[in-house]
């Protein structure tokens, strides 16, 4: 083999979710603390490819990114007959926990972006003891809607084009053109109605206002990082959410938008590296899953 081969390994795991078998695609690299990464609404695990190939992070973390059912290479379940896809808080929470259980991960770290950031908050509310740390990117308990999601799936508007065009404004203007194009490409490839169905969780079912106050960061540390150019989940949304939680770490990331890990991986690395370092330090204190 003469070509450059990346260290990422991709496989499928069969996971029972809601009493139904799902064939979930995931990619991983590294060894150590399990770090499960959740993609944004309407996209897939490719958003994490730069983190997955980061040799320094892979020294201490088993970095894993999976495609949610209906996304990327995780097909809808075999029993799906075409009814409208709608992600709910309960289903999303069950999916993440079932995936971690299927891989027998020992108290993983979960890092999610956008809807992934929102569900991280729900994991902190209801299942904190199962996780070593939780990281919410572009996360808040609620955000003010800024468009009507019915535009995302109708026969007289190209779904891929409109999904990508809508989220294009959430990318910071400083982000490299190639990374911007790649981030939007995933939105152009999404299945019909999937982005809209994810936003059912984000807009309707997953309102966590009045619930985040119960998060206990002594049980599980919580880190929130939001890009300054994210006008969907604004820095103010994250700050308001954090104000209700004791002991949460908040970082506002310069020159980043709603897709930090994919729109500008180098800039994102500057912000996520200290967070991962802190998690390593905490794990060293308990000697869990770290090379010592």
């Amino acid at each position: 083999m003469s070509g450059h081969v990346e260290p990422i390994i991709g496989r499928y795991v069969h996971v029972d979710i809601g009493g139904e078998a799902h064939r979930i695609y995931f990619e991983e690299n590294g060894a150590g603390i399990p770090l499960v990464c959740l993609h944004t609404a309407g996209s897939d695990g490719r958003q994490w490819r730069h983190l997955l190939t980061d040799a320094e992070f892979a020294e201490n973390f088993r970095i894993i990114a999976f495609d949610m059912p209906w996304h990327g290479k995780s097909n809808p379940p075999a029993g799906w007959s075409g009814e409208e896809y709608r992600l709910t808080t309960a289903r999303y929470t069950e999916t993440v926990r079932a995936f971690c259980k299927a891989l027998t991960l020992d108290r993983p770290v979960v890092m999610g972006c956008s809807i992934g950031g929102r569900i991280v908050l729900n994991l902190a509310i209801d299942h904190a003891a199962e996780f070593r740390a939780l990281i919410g990117l572009e996360a808040a308990d609620f955000q003010t809607p800024w468009y009507d999601t019915t535009w995302l799936n109708r026969p007289d508007v190209h779904g891929g084009e409109v999904c990508a065009a809508l989220v294009s404004g959430l990318i910071a203007p400083q982000s490299p053109q190639a990374a911007r194009t790649e981030t939007l490409w995933a939105y152009k490839q999404g299945g019909p109605g999937v982005f809209k169905g994810d936003l059912y969780f984000y807009r309707v079912d997953g309102d966590l206002r009045g619930r985040v106050e119960t998060i206990d960061t002594k049980v599980c540390p919580l880190f929130l990082l939001t890009g300054e150019y994210d006008f969907s989940c604004t820095p103010e949304d994250t700050a308001r959410t954090a104000a209700a939680i004791g002991g949460v770490s908040v970082t506002i990331m310069k020159e980043l938008g709603h897709f930090p890990m994919s729109e500008n991986p180098g800039q994102f690395r500057r912000y996520i590296s200290p967070v991962l370092g802190e998690i390593i330090k905490q794990s060293l204190q308990t000697k869990q899953g770290v090379k010592v």
């Binding site: 190209h158 084009e161 809508l166 294009s168 404004g169 400083q174 150019y229 006008f231």
Partner: protein
Amino acid sequence: MIPLSDSAADAVTTAFANIPVLLEQTPALIARGRFLDCECLLGPAGHPFHAAIRAGRIVELAPAPVLMRSWRFSYRAQPAAWAEYWRTPPRPGWHDLLALTKRGEAALEGDLHPFMANLQYFKDVLALPRNHFVIAPS
């Protein structure tokens, strides 16, 4: 936000009037809008333009009002919002057409189908002055 001075607001209107010229210099953007034929009302609130778009080209940009001229949708923003949108780079929250509507600095009205079906086209066309717009010190 603080309103622009009259001369700065005039500069925004002048920059807007030059968009068809800039579009003609951007063939890839014309190609993106190749299926678009539309009458719309665009520009600074108070001094918008009737735009006639044919196959992605702005074939007419006439200052409103034009007697009994119809339009399918309008996108109008405060002159200061256009000045912010055209900064290089724009500041957070001022960098996207829908960021401006979310913060109440722009209004999107009418039959939105042509706008949404060609959303990236309109975002890019209306950003064309970004590398050209300067407000002369008063």
